[in-house]
């Protein structure tokens, strides 16, 4: 092969021109002849029985298509892990904004009035809104004990280590819900005809999740359900499971009306009715020797799953496994639990449980450091996991990792020691107090445990008549660069120009199931399969005598075109096979939790303004080891974007709940960072080898969500000498903590 390097180069984004010219077609940019618009009538209460539905006067109801639960041809559920969530409420509601009725009309302006004209009488039941109340089981709202799932990870003897400890350090940490806030709201168009069945086009991450849900809901065979992803304006997990609901709704309206139906949420509906990051509570109890070495500990991690099970068991799983951070625990017991409350179900959001438990771990490390009397740097250095040691699930880390070196480089990049000394001096008299915080963490790539084996993803590659190739995957592009990076992998493997590789738009009629686009698995797992499929193409062409061992680009084109001309079709398929030696025990939660981990050390420098109590992040260093960086611009963009979301998670983004409903479901009052709020985020990569992914790549997308919040809150403690254990941390929280600390006569002076 005589190929210039494509891997590691900043090739242009495949769909980039369409995006910068405004030509890219998102779901709301698409219209179909005779299309109706759909809307959803939702529950106004958190929990209760539906007594009566009435249709108010002043609306020409005969012009509307109306769908309720009894119109569902198949099973009334959103098929995912369990079947507990109805597609439309039937008799009872379990959270505010739960869908009850669907309406469709050609004029979308009339729909809003019609939705308002439907009145529903309820017999309310006592709702549950907090983890504590759910745990108390005073009211049973789900199953027999309000518990969706429990895990226990156990390593070594935890019970007899407390006597040996020089220090026992305890802490409790909480994180709030967070809205994904993709700029494009959820939306789909569905059509139906008897011959072809249901087709759904939509803004979504996982075409085959929607496909599965529609088969169950509409009682249609595989071949009569087709799901096509349209250009997707951000997702971040928020379009992992939710599209199955909105697609189901549009499909039901299309089946009943016989017309195409578009449902696109407005911002408030999207924010109040769809999923958010799980709120969490983590309790730590850690035994430490006098040098600050961790002897062992207990971690209790609980997430609030909302009203239905949805993805909570899997979110819990990842959060539980990551709860011990990148440290060596000679013994540890981590118990994880997902509980039910009467809020809309919480769901997938970048990081998927790990940002929650890692926030707790990294805040707790600073607490341990303070108790032992050593620095946040030293406590981490003394406990970092090393190659050859085992994680909490007793997975031996075989890959070369050097967290100490990552930390040292991070400190140098931040000019840590010099700045710390300067701040200590300046802070004495300043009204703007500055501090630096550190977070060290890891993120496992791919599905947890045996997940990838069960998924058994399939990838295809098609030779085209003009000698180029097309990648066939259901992996979706929603900003991360899926199309670009998978094309790079194919081009590099085949030894052909990047421009000679195209990638099919995910469409269940055209592409195999390469698994969901989640869990930082696309580059590492799907990328490796693309590489294998490309090798299959080469093998076929060589075996057929059309391609010599050494070949030029033109020779490849000719060979591929000739093969297609002679055989009609040229496709190469590969299916995922677990690497040998991977062991995972689903019962005991022990073994190789992830094929590979990315490792990172983040440092944040903050200023706390003691006049406004606001915090600004002045400098941010994000240093990580993600294996080979396949595309430097896209990889950096993943980190800067994730860090920005992490800064929002820590300092800005507060979901205000009232009776289980989000009260601030607007961009005006749910505040995400703007360009004026963020520092320039400095991104650095270490590139060590990795055997699992294509060309040595590991997962990258979720990692940057994990570190910013603890780094920032640690920095705030460094600045103020006050520790905070709850995020989001808003100016009013800082104000309260500072005023609570003031001597009594100060407070008296105010009176």
């Amino acid at each position: 092969m005589t190929n210039e390097q494509i891997i590691g180069m900043p090739v242009p984004r495949k769909e980039g021109r369409d995006k910068v010219t405004g030509r890219a077609q998102y779901i709301d940019d698409i219209s179909m002849p005779g299309m109706l618009h759909g809307a959803t009538v939702r529950s106004s209460i958190a929990r209760g029985k539906i007594l009566k539905i009435s249709y108010g006067s002043g609306i020409a109801w005969d012009e509307f298509v109306i769908v309720c639960a009894s119109d569902i041809p198949g099973k009334n559920c959103v098929a995912l892990i369990a079947d507990d969530q109805p597609c439309l409420a039937e008799g009872v509601v379990n959270h505010p904004e739960e869908p009850i009725l669907l309406l469709a009309h050609p004029n979308r302006h009339l729909l809003r009035k019609a939705v308002e004209a439907v009145s529903i009488e309820y017999a309310p039941l006592p709702p549950v809104f907090t983890i504590e109340k759910s745990e108390s089981q005073a009211e049973i709202i789900w199953g027999t004990d309000n518990t969706f799932k429990k895990y226990c990870v156990e390593k070594g003897e935890v019970d007899d280590l407390w006597d040996k400890a020089a220090h026992i350090v305890e802490g409790e940490y909480s994180t709030g819900a967070q809205e994904q806030l993709y700029i494009e709201n959820n939306g789909v168009i569905a059509s139906f005809d008897r011959e072809r069945g249901v087709t759904v086009w939509g803004s979504l991450q996982c075409p085959y999740y929607v496909h599965k849900a529609l088969m169950r809901l509409c009682s249609l065979p595989e071949e009569k359900v087709r799901v096509v992803q349209t250009e997707t304006g951000g997702a971040f997990g928020g379009k992992e499971e939710y599209p199955s609901i909105i697609a189901g709704h549009a499909a039901l309206l299309a089946m009943k009306s016989g017309k195409p139906v578009k449902i696109v949420y407005d911002r408030m509906e999207d924010m109040t009715a769809t999923t958010k990051r799980h709120p969490s509570r983590t309790r730590h109890r850690t035994a430490v020797d006098k040098h600050g070495k961790i002897l062992g500990g207990e971690i209790e991690f609980v997430v609030d799953g909302g009203a239905y099970l949805t993805l909570s068991p899997v979110v819990l799983s990842r959060g539980t496994i990551h709860a011990g951070g990148p440290y060596h625990w000679p013994s540890i017991r981590i118990s994880g639990k997902a509980v039910a409350t009467n809020t809309p179900p919480h769901g997938a959001f970048r990081g998927f449980g790990a940002p929650q438990s890692l926030f707790a771990m990294e805040r707790h490390m600073d607490r341990i450091a303070a108790v032992v009397g050593i620095s946040p740097v030293e406590i981490r250095r003394r406990n970092f996991l090393k190659t050859g040691q085992t994680t909490a699930t007793e997975q031996t880390i075989h890959e070369p990792i050097d967290l100490e070196q990552l930390l040292e480089r991070g400190l140098t990049l931040m000019d840590y020691r010099v700045r710390k000394n300067r701040f200590r001096e300046q802070n004495r008299s300043a009204t703007h107090k500055k501090g630096i915080g550190i977070a060290a963490f890891l993120h496992g790539a791919g599905f947890t445990g045996s997940g990838e084996r069960y998924l058994a993803s399939v990838v295809g590659m098609q030779g085209l008549a003009d000698g180029r190739v097309r990648i066939l995957v259901s992996s979706t592009e929603f900003g991360q660069g899926t199309k670009t990076v998978l094309s790079q992998i194919a081009a590099e493997t085949l030894g052909i120009p990047y421009a000679d590789v195209e990638i099919a738009q995910p469409d269940t009629e055209q592409v195999p199931n390469s698994g969901p686009t989640v869990a930082s698995r696309t580059v590492m797992v799907v990328g490796k399969l693309v590489q294998s499929a490309a090798k299959g193409v080469l093998q076929t062409l060589k075996a057929s005598g059309l391609l010599p061992e050494q070949y030029s680009r033109d020779e490849f084109r000719d060979a591929c075109a000739r093969y297609v001309a002679e055989h009609g079709e040229f496709k190469s398929w590969v299916r995922y096979e677990a690497p040998p030696g991977i062991f995972w025990d689903d019962e005991k939660y022990r073994g190789e939790a992830y094929a590979a981990y990315a490792w990172a050390v983040y440092l944040a420098e903050v200023t706390v303004d003691l006049t406004t109590y606001s915090v600004t992040v002045d400098d941010f260093v994000a240093l990580q080891e993600v294996g080979k960086v396949l595309h430097p611009v896209l990889a950096r963009g993943q980190i800067t974007g994730g860090v920005a979301q992490g800064i929002g998670y820590a300092l800005y983004e507060k979901v205000v709940w009232q009776n289980g409903r989000m009260q601030n479901g607007q961009m005006t009052n749910y505040i995400m960072p703007t360009s004026a709020d963020l520092p320039s985020i400095r991104v650095y990569f270490e590139e060590l080898g990795n055997v699992h992914g294509a060309f040595g790549a590991k997962g990258i997308g979720e990692l940057p969500m994990d570190g910013p919040a603890p780094a920032i809150v640690n920095a705030i403690e460094d600045a103020l000498g006050i520790g905070f254990d709850v995020i989001p941390l808003l100016p009013e929280d800082i104000f309260q903590a500072i005023t609570a600390r003031r001597p009594a006569n100060d407070a008296a002076g105010v009176q």
């Binding site: 980039g16 700029i183 494009e184 920005a644 961009m667 005006t668 963020l678």
Partner: protein, 162 residues
């Protein structure tokens, strides 16, 4: 269809071409652009002027087209994202967004590029601070703004070189 009042004729110049539309006076400029003129580059992200995804230039001013009643656009010169590239030749801001990673999911990109256009029309040598302020009315959830800011700086530098 019900009678929702009169739909007067409104004339406006969009991307250099004169257009006549019939619309309710309080109809949003965004809807007229998208539904009547087929210009779907401007996006609706929030419908209340917070996200900036529907940004267009109206007589040189940067506006959220979701907040502009079309009546106000009578006689105005509107520039949308579709009006920037000249055939296959991208505007230097569009090229810079491609080169620097300024566009990820792309939904905010048309609005942000219009905001950047507006900024560069007033400030040919913007500092980083000025870029951040100039784009602070446009929300992007993907990039963390770092590469957007770099793209604008690159386009500004090229603009000076030309």
């Amino acid at each position: 269809m019900r009678n929702l009042g009169a739909q007067p004729e409104i004339t406006l110049t969009v991307n250099g071409e004169e257009k006549m539309v019939r619309a309710y006076p309080m109809e949003r400029l965004l809807d007229v652009l998208r539904h009547q003129l087929g210009l779907t580059g401007a996006k609706e992200g929030c419908g209340e002027g917070e996200c900036g995804s529907c940004s267009v230039l109206m007589d040189g001013a940067l506006v959220n087209s979701c907040l502009v009643p079309v009546l106000q656009a009578q006689g105005a010169k509107i520039t949308t994202i579709e009006g920037l590239a000249q055939g296959p030749l991208l505007h230097q801001l569009q090229q810079a967004f491609l080169d620097c990673g300024g566009a990820q999911c792309g939904i905010c990109t048309p609005g942000i590029i219009m905001a950047a256009c507006h900024l560069l029309a007033r400030t040919t040598r913007p500092t980083r601070e000025q870029i951040n302020q100039g784009l602070s009315g446009n929300l992007c959830r993907c990039t963390g703004y770092t590469q957007i800011c770099e793209a604008v700086a690159q386009a500004a530098a090229q603009g000076r070189a030309e």
